[in-house]
Subunit: 238 residues, 2 copies
DNA sequence: ATTGGGCTTTGACTTACGTCAAAAACGGAC
DNA sequence: GTCCGTTTTTGACGTAAGTCAAAGCCCAAT
């Protein structure tokens, strides 16, 4: 893939002029990674940030016991580890390649220099960090205040909203999805089967169909035990 | 408190010139809130951000069942809800006053206009968002990968590192601390007593003394981040 | 088709932590 | 001091979800 083309496709750079894009492409370095490759580990000195030209990457954390938690999954056009640019230090999480592809690396200092002369880029970056912040706050809310069925239900509804189709494919292998939802494969499996048994979804392999979206919304919205006693009134509190 | 003085004391604005500070003070609006007052609720349209001139505020989330989780506690010189400025929408969490004081409100649009002409301010803001992001990532790691004793131990060690004194005062009432650690008062109380029984700390009311910092570090899981695998010998005995 | 290794599922069991309810302890008002 | 409301503690108990271990599956490579 052409580097200039890849740079132009990055959402963070939308609205910038040709000259600026060329300058960005100038500082970017193309890297090719294969599935399973580690791009960086949490705790390593943060040298710069990345974007996905093609492929898929996961940002995750591990406990000492080896349990993993996935913070993000990024695909083409998205950037990650941009936190490296503004507060130095180390990467706060690890990055591993889920699908072979090409990645662009933007070294910290060279990027900062560009940023100085590009107020539009700075504003874009502020918007991006802002959205990240919102994502994390939401994830925190899920993790601390809602249980696994609620998190899964919300995720399935999100997938449906994105795909607009009745039958939808899981975006990740189930083990990874479990880590993304802050649980383990066994638990995810059990909850999926429960949804299945209750007739809320039909599950077959890596795709599934939502039969009763209202019921899922009840699970997702009402942190409750979901036995169906609650009405899905859907009001987002206060 | 004088508004110009309060504005100059805001960390986010450090390094700015007199003119810029005056302009910022110009757009800021002073508000006085009493303990218990709600500054905003999650879900409300985000009009702008705030800073603490004096007092203390907590940023928190609630579940439908009424459980609370505290994301941040901010004191004098700190700003909060800055996410409102860059991605519009609604406040992602609620803010409530813990201690009476004066707060400055910076309306979204007027602040954005200032930002356009102030690259230094933009850079400061990028740094701030970046640090917030790191805080949240760490909190996510704690919540999803570590249990309550580990979180409490890490927090106590942090307090000690900040105060540099042997006897340290809890920064929050215990109920609030529990919500900050992602648990409930009963559980916090039990874990504190366990630490006490094991001779790791001496607890008296709202202050405590750390007797065995090494033991606390073992609970907290020393080493924190990092790619390597360590032995999880989290000390369960005694 | 057969093998083998990674995922995924299932079952039996354990446990950290939440819930509920009742006592203590604390702190301010009088 | 006494009283009252709030916060904190303690105990008994329940449960969501994790652990451990054994099948079951699925697909790529032989």
């Amino acid at each position: 893939m052409d580097k200039n083309q890849a740079v132009a496709a990055i959402g963070l750079f939308s609205g910038l002029g040709q000259r600026e894009l060329a300058a960005l492409a100038g500082v970017a370095e193309t890297r090719r990674y294969a599935r399973g490759a580690d791009i960086f580990f949490a705790g390593e000195p943060a040298q710069g940030f990345f974007s996905v030209a093609s492929g898929k990457v996961r940002i995750y954390q591990t406990s000492l016991a080896g349990k993993e938690h996935i913070l993000h999954v990024f695909g083409p056009g998205e950037v990650f580890a941009e936190v490296a640019v503004f507060s130095g230090g180390v990467y706060p999480a690890s990055a591993q390649v889920l699908e072979d592809g090409e990645y662009l690396f933007f070294p910290r200092e060279r990027f900062r220099r560009l940023l100085k002369d590009e107020p539009d880029l700075a504003m874009n970056m502020l918007g991006l960090l802002s959205i990240r912040l919102r994502q994390l706050v939401k994830k925190l809310e899920d993790l601390s205040l809602r249980e696994v069925p609620a998190r899964l239900a919300a995720h399935l509804l999100l997938l449906q909203a994105q795909s607009r189709k009745r039958r939808l494919a899981l975006d990740l292998p189930k083990g990874q999805l479990a880590a993304y939802l802050g649980t383990i494969p066994e638990t995810l499996s059990r909850v999926l089967r429960r949804f299945s048994d209750e007739g809320v979804i039909i599950l077959s392999g890596t795709t599934l169909e939502i039969l009763d979206a209202g019921r899922l919304e009840a699970y997702a919205g009402v942190g409750g035990t979901g036995g169906g006693k609650e009405d899905a009134s859907g009001g987002r509190g206060a």
